[in-house]
């Protein structure tokens, strides 16, 4: 078995092994450390010595041994742990939706995701902890992907675990009443991981594309666990449809290529087909949500053979639904582009005007960039140039700045 295949296997097994350990011994933080060590041992030994007969059992044994060593070396801590962590078997508390796959391994992954995305944690901590405990990534890999020193990332992960401990959260599904809110935190974290990796495909941060793959893998896993959840399906479809454009969205030197100028023959047709089918099927039967609507918009773009063929009317009506049901200034910003494509640039600019008073977007580079684009469409080159310059100064992204500067000087 190749190193890459072993890595895939380990990532699949990581949450299952952690689930077994927490269930048997309690103490999420300690178990998580022990599983990390077992994963590391496997990654070092398996490529040379070959796969054990029962990889999962091997990992559980090694992790349990590490946990015992750790607890023995700190008995005072163990006593604290045992009193604080009466691990409740999750099966007793968690009633799966009809038709859902059950079984300890499946439930454990979901419970782990919910625990790592606990509302007491900040978003960056949720992201880091999810990648480690559920994704099976090492602290070094996470630190590398986020361009942060390893010591800082280790500290963030350990603080996050302390925080969970302090809240007294147990390894069990949240009460049904809390589930929707907790699920939306999980989806948000997967979306953040995806976006973090959805970056320029060249330049100093090449390895970050792994985060995109990891986010898609976790979303697939979540969909397997909750097949009836429309927003889970919507998020997965959105990721597939967005990621399908990856090869086309940057030029040879890592420069950003806007959607309208992308070479659509470089879009991944398989991912598009899967995403379109998934969102079409989901919209038919699930309760509508923001991820589904965004996926539907991405699907309309993906289905257009050329920019000119884009069904802007349909995109506009989807944005109108989205901004009515889930108002958000970023949605309005995108809606303004759709308005401009259907009703002309002045209509788009008028909608942008409503955002000037919005604190969340004031002086945001995207507002300047969209205004510049619409002014350009309206034929007002000088005003467009000024807005592109403002946008270029306001962004903190190197590829965006290059793109915006190139638009500002274009004749």
């Amino acid at each position: 078995m190749t190193g890459a295949r072993i890595e895939d296997l380990l990532r699949d097994l990581a949450p299952q092994v952690l689930g077994v350990l927490v269930r048997r011994h309690g103490g999420f933080a300690e178990c998580e450390d022990a599983v990390q060590e077992a994963l590391l041992a496997a990654a070092t030994q398996w490529p040379g010595q070959g796969l054990p007969d029962h990889p999962r059992a091997w990992l559980v044994t090694v992790a349990t041994r590490r946990l015992t060593d750790q607890l023995r070396s700190d008995t005072a801590r163990r006593r604290r742990e045992e009193s604080a962590y009466a691990a409740t078997p999750a099966d007793e508390l968690f009633a799966p939706a009809p038709g859902e796959r059950t079984g300890p391994a499946a439930d454990d992954t979901l419970i782990l995701l919910l625990l790592c995305c606990h509302p007491a944690l900040t978003a960056p901590s949720q992201v880091a902890l999810t990648l480690r405990a559920v994704g099976g990534l090492s602290t070094a890999e996470i630190a590398h992907a986020f361009l942060v020193p390893q010591a800082s990332m280790a500290q963030r992960i350990s603080r996050a675990k302390q925080r969970i401990r302090a809240t007294g959260a147990v390894f069990a599904a949240p009460p049904p009443g809390e589930l929707p809110e907790r699920m939306s935190a999980v989806l948000h974290v997967l979306y953040l991981i995806f976006n973090e990796g959805y970056t320029a495909s060249s330049g100093p941060c090449l390895q970050r594309t792994e985060l995109t793959a990891e986010a898609i893998r976790l979303a697939r896993e979540l969909r397997r666990l909750r097949p009836g959840d429309g927003e889970v399906a919507g998020l997965l479809a959105l990721m597939l449809l967005t990621d399908a454009r990856r090869a086309a969205r940057t030029g040879p030197d890592g420069e950003l290529v806007p959607l309208a100028d992308q070479d659509r023959s470089r879009w991944q047709t398989m991912a598009i087909a899967e995403g379109v089918e998934l969102i079409t099927d989901t919209l038919r039967r699930a309760e509508l949500g923001p991820y589904q609507l965004q996926a539907a918009i991405a699907a309309v773009h993906a289905e257009a053979a050329t920019t000119a063929d884009t069904d802007w009317r349909q995109i506009l009506s989807l944005y109108r639904v989205l901004s009515r049901l889930f108002p958000n200034p970023m949605v309005t910003l995108n809606q303004a582009v759709a308005e401009a494509m259907v009703h002309g640039p002045r209509a788009g600019l008028a909608l942008l005007g409503t955002l000037d008073a919005d604190e969340r977007l004031a002086r945001h580079h995207r507002l300047y960039a969209v205004r510049a684009h619409l002014l350009e469409l309206a034929g007002d080159r000088d005003a467009a140039r000024e807005q592109y310059r403002r946008a270029a100064r306001a962004t903190t992204s190197v590829p965006e700045q290059r793109y915006l500067e190139s638009r500002a000087v274009r004749r």
Binding site: V148, C205, L256, S397, V398, Y403
Partner: protein, 120 residues
């Protein structure tokens, strides 16, 4: 979001401060580093040598030339920096305010550029 907290100081004013105040400022950095390390927000830091130790390098027509003294003529100098990562800009300003030098000089908070870009 990653930020550079840039500590500006005026050596003449610094030397004019009483010794115990200077001690307090120095000790304050130890506390500040400890807190930032514990929160996982610290990415790096450095204190810079006195501007009198600066050499400026220029390359003209392929020839490097090294001269004594700083590039900019100014009374205030860059004394050091902290590289941090915080969840919000407000937290970055809050941390800048905790740098002891902020009480006597000023801290500049500058966002750090990143390499991920959104499709436009």
């Amino acid at each position: 979001m990653k930020y550079l907290l840039i500590i500006h100081m005026n050596p003449a004013n610094w030397e004019a401060l009483p010794a115990d105040v200077r001690e307090e400022v120095m000790a304050g950095h130890g506390e500040f580093i400890k807190e930032l390390t514990a929160s996982g927000e610290l990415l790096g830091f450095a204190a810079l040598a006195d501007p009198s130790q600066t050499r400026t390098v220029r390359v003209r027509e392929g020839e490097p030339a090294v001269t004594d003294g700083p590039y900019l003529e100014a009374k205030e100098w860059l004394a050091g920096y902290y590289a941090i990562e915080t969840e919000t800009p407000e937290r970055a300003y809050e941390l800048a305010g905790q740098i002891p030098d902020a009480r006597y000089f000023a801290i500049e908070v500058r966002p750090v550029m990143n390499y991920s870009g959104m499709e436009m």
